[in-house]
């Protein structure tokens, strides 16, 4: 793993530290990259070749604070996070490098029901306790990629992403969590005329370990080994260890039409398939207890159509959809002894007792009015989304399903103030449920309490109707530092989310404010 890490750091440094040019174009470079590359959000690592700004380095420091009880069941009531990021891009001959390094240090207060870090959001096999405590996750996220153009028609690409982190609390039972995700993404693209077809893949490994200690041993502490919909087993927390191991792989195909920054019409279409699994295994050595296996398959597709009737106007239409079908395998195990008298867990049955289907579709439109240099002076965006989720337990017949629709509107206006540019943004949106149902009538009485404390609040957090609004201000000022021209950025933003209907299981609101400061070279 150290080799992966050193290679990634090299790619990040190479792509970032060498890029000091074209400073005037780097005000709001992210929007320029998006508008200038119809495949900017492609899964294929060759897409960086088409970025209009190929030499830049970005160094930022950010802070975010959130407070409020309108959040998912395993969210924190109060959270704060510092983040330092270093990213960049550099073209050297036929090769374009890109990369980033992000360090995040958070404090998650009054959090419970989840003692994991990087497992899939769909994985039902969560190890948790029911006592609120403060988590301190610390993560490093590294990404390095390169696109190589060996001939006029061919592009080859490779990217690697390494996410590593740890988290802990100082309240019994005390979990200590260490996790890692490592992803490799190769890609290829062949172009002919104004058309290009691409193929990319991804393979990712997950490794995470959670160990629990109890300092005040006079009070017994217990862990919940969730199996979906709040169904759980309990284990005594002291010394309890769980390890997650998983693999994800996927393939995507792309079709790109006319990907040049000034094309009047351009289009990007991508479709892909993925498959993944994560195993939860508890204990050590021979005494291994299988916590469960989560597996999922799915597909996703996205379409972006870009219309530029003039050099000063850009219309982007997007449509995307995804579907994932997941299963939770329960293992029924019995303790017995081996020939040496050691206690072992003997698996007497394995069955996919939990099934879930998640679907999402999104329709978006974005309008940009550009300056002569390509800076978006005004930007308006509307996104309409719809999601559907259905989870059922085949043993007890428990089932929950819901559909939500959401709408987000945003507008950003940029003003020239002295030598700098001020970007002022407003956004507003809402989420409304279309339908929801939950049936827990078949659950055994022993789960009555957890249904009230966990299952129902978790479900209602997913379906709560809310509105939200926010504003942001970012000031970008070209400056020279040590002889290098750069853009200094200072930004603040804030937002508020409020529940619309009364719901005794869900909190009422949540506030977030943040700020960032940095330089783009």
């Amino acid at each position: 793993m150290n080799q992966h890490l050193s290679s990634l750091i090299s790619a990040v440094l190479l792509s970032s530290a060498c890029a000091f040019a074209q400073t005037d174009l780097k005000v709001d470079y992210a929007d320029r990259q998006y508008l200038g590359n119809v495949a900017a959000e492609s899964s294929n690592p060759v897409a960086v070749h088409y970025m209009p700004i190929s030499d830049l380095a970005d160094l930022h420091l950010g802070y975010r604070y959130e407070n409020g009880n309108l959040h998912l069941i395993d969210g924190a009531n109060i959270s704060s996070a510092w983040e330092a990021s270093f990213s960049g891009m550099k073209r050297v001959g036929k090769v374009t490098f890109n990369g980033f390094l992000v360090y995040n240090n958070s404090s998650l207060r009054e959090r419970r029901w989840n003692n994991t870090l990087f497992i899939s959001d769909r994985n039902p096999f969560i190890i948790a306790d029911s006592l609120k405590s403060t988590f301190h996750p610390e993560t490093f996220h590294l990404h390095g990629g390169a696109a190589y153009k060996p001939s006029d028609n061919l592009l080859l690409g490779l990217a690697a992403t390494y996410l590593v982190g740890s988290s802990a609390t100082q309240k019994d039972p005390r979990p200590e969590i260490k996790g890692m995700r490592f992803r490799l993404t190769p890609g290829v693209e062949y172009s002919f005329g104004r058309h290009a077809v691409g193929l990319s893949g991804e393979v990712e490994w997950l490794s995470e370990e959670v160990t629990h200690t109890v300092v005040k041993t006079t009070t017994p502490q217990y862990l919940l080994l969730f199996q979906g919909l709040g169904i759980f087993e309990t284990k005594e927390a002291i010394g309890y260890r769980r390890k997650y191991n998983g693999t994800h792989w996927g393939v995507q195909a792309q079709y790109v039409f006319n990907n040049s920054g000034d094309a009047r019409i351009s289009n990007f279409l991508e479709g892909g398939f993925f498959s993944e699994f994560e195993d939860a295994t508890d204990g050590k050595n021979a005494q291994r207890y299988k916590g469960g296996r989560y597996s999922a398959t799915g597909f996703r597709a996205s379409e972006r159509f870009c219309l530029r009737p003039s050099k000063r106007t850009a219309h982007n239409f997007t449509l995307s959809g995804s579907m994932a079908s997941s299963k939770g395998k329960w293992y029924t195990q019995r303790t017995s002894t081996d020939e040496n008298g050691n206690i072992i867990y003997e698996t007497i049955n394995a069955s996919d007792n939990l099934e879930a289907t998640d679907m999402e579709a999104q329709l978006g439109y974005r309008f940009d009015r550009l300056s002569s240099s390509g800076l978006p002076l005004f930007q308006g965006e509307a996104t309409l989304g719809i999601e559907n989720s259905e989870t059922k337990n085949k043993v007890y017949g428990a089932k929950e399903s819901y559909s939500n629709v959401w709408l987000n509107l945003s507008a950003t206006r940029r003003f020239k103030i002295k030598k700098g540019i001020l970007a002022a943004g407003l956004n507003a949106g809402c989420r409304m449920k279309l339908q929801s149902s939950i049936n827990l009538s078949g659950m055994p009485d022993t789960y009555d309490r957890i249904m009230q404390l966990y299952t129902r609040p978790a479900f209602h957090a997913e379906i709560a109707d809310f509105w939200q609004a926010g504003a942001s201000l970012t000031y970008s000022l070209p400056v020279r530092i040590l002889g290098y021209s750069s853009v200094m950025e200072v930004g603040v933003d804030g937002g508020y989310r409020g529940r619309i209907n009364e719901d005794r299981y869900v909190g009422s609101d949540r506030l977030n404010i943040g700020g960032r400061f940095g330089f783009v070279f």
């Binding site: 029924t332 019995r334 303790t335 017995s336 002894t337 008298g341 206690i343 007497i348 049955n349 069955s351 007792n353 289907t357 679907m359 579709a361 329709l363 309409l384 719809i386 559907n388 259905e390 059922k392 085949k394 043993v395 007890y396 017949g397 089932k399 559909s403 629709v405 279309l434 339908q435 078949g442 055994p444 009485d445 022993t446 309490r449």
Partner: protein, 412 residues
């Protein structure tokens, strides 16, 4: 508005697609339980259909029970996947009919055959046992109440009371494992292994009568435990044992010494290994009442080296008493269904019972006892305690507030 209308078909298609999932699939398996009456009762059964013979399947994960009547010689239950303890209960004339099979894995349709056992009700039975104690770690208030469940005078002379060894595997204290003393639900050498202390009522035959439908209370410490001075974290004991009929003086040498209460007769501590009181584990342990064959002196029997055997694979000794000598037994287990492992033979107790704590957890230090239910009353109003040879049915589920010396006046 017209543009918005274009979106509606997309939304409708999405929702339509989302609702196209297959019909709800719930996994259920059929367990067919075939019952086999003992040969000596098969003729009677052909003449008299056993009344209310039914099968109970207890899911060891969810603690849910499913019940089905026996029709002919079998019963069918639709069960969720899991591991079950199966019991069969009923009556035939004056016999209790019972059968048990534990750890039955039901992950597909299957059938099991259970051999039934016919027993007659016991003369002396445990009316109540209290062993869970209270916080913090106070268990000196334990008591046992023995009831004469017949209409004739019975005698306590020579009656032995003992705690059955868990039969842990070597280097283990895992109660979910089967006892190393047992195979196929029976003790390998035909003897119950007793541990901690074994106590015996004195007397040569008819010195200590117990009148019909009355009880005697045997206290670990015959005193008023409710008057205990409490420190922080202590809970008050629920029992006043001042009027106990007998005491269990544990004759230990060493720095731990039991208190001897004057004026209350002692049972005889005929065998001992460890324990500052004679009592089951606070979260549950099987106990028995037994009586050796006529003419066998319990003290002499205990002094005989052949009455003691080490735990298989271990070194700790147990006091061995033939299974045929048992008068009454309660298979007391921890409330956790994973620990519902039988350590009493089905002929002595076809079920299991336990004291429950919060959320169905361990009953340790809950201040609750196990009390036998009242099945009815005699013409003169005396209680007939329930004795179907199945403690799951015979005792108040999960335990209740202790009532030493008090005989209920209503049917449970």
């Amino acid at each position: 508005m017209r543009k918005f209308l274009y979106i509606l078909p997309i939304v409708a298609m999405f929702l339509g697609f989302a609702s196209c999932s297959s019909d709800d699939e719930v996994i259920r398996h059929t367990l067919t339980v075939n019952v086999q009456l003992p040969s000596e009762l098969q003729t009677k059964a052909s003449e008299t259909q056993p009344a209310s013979l039914y099968v109970t399947a207890f899911n060891t994960s969810t603690s849910q029970s499913s019940v089905a009547p026996v029709n002919g010689n079998s019963a069918a239950l639709e069960l969720i996947p899991g591991t079950y303890n199966i019991t069969v209960s009923g009556e035939l004339e004056s016999y209790n009919i019972n059968g048990v099979k534990t750890g039955v894995d039901v992950f597909s349709n299957k059938s099991v055959t259970i051999d039934l056992i016919a027993t007659v009700p016991s003369t002396l039975v445990f009316k109540e046992v209290y062993f869970s104690g209270v916080n913090a770690y106070y268990f000196q208030d334990a008591f046992y109440e023995i009831y004469n469940n017949t209409d004739e005078v019975q005698y306590l002379d020579g009656v032995i009371m003992g705690i059955v060894d868990f039969g842990f595997a070597p280097s283990s204290s895992d109660k979910s494992l089967n006892s190393v003393w047992m195979a196929d639900g029976k003790y390998i050498d035909g003897k119950y292994p007793l541990t901690s202390h074994v106590q015996c009522f004195p007397g040569s035959g008819q010195e200590y009568p117990i009148q019909p439908r009355t009880s005697i209370v045997v206290a670990a410490n015959p005193m008023n435990h409710t008057a205990r001075v409490l420190a922080e974290g202590d809970d008050p004991s629920p029992v006043d044992l001042t009027n106990a009929d007998w005491q269990l003086y544990v004759d230990l040498t060493g720095f731990i010494t039991d208190t001897k209460f004057e004026g209350v007769p002692n049972m005889t501590n005929i065998w001992k290994t460890w324990g500052r009181e004679m009592m089951p584990a606070t979260d549950g342990q099987p106990i028995i009442l037994a009586k050796l064959p006529a003419g066998v002196d319990p003290v002499a029997y205990a002094a005989d080296a052949s009455s003691v055997a080490p735990v298989p694979g271990g070194t700790n000794n147990c006091f061995m008493i033939p299974v045929d000598c048992v008068l009454d037994a309660i298979d007391i287990v921890n409330a956790d269904p994973a620990d519902h492992v039988k350590r009493i033979e089905a002929k002595d107790d076809a079920g299991m019972t336990w004291v429950s704590g919060a959320n169905g957890g361990s009953g340790s230090y809950t201040g609750k006892s196990l009390r036998r239910k009242v099945a009815g009353f005699t013409i003169d109003g005396k209680a007939i305690l329930k004795d179907t040879n199945n403690s799951t049915n015979d005792f108040v589920t999960g335990g209740s507030t202790p009532t030493p010396g008090v005989i209920p006046t209503t049917v449970d």
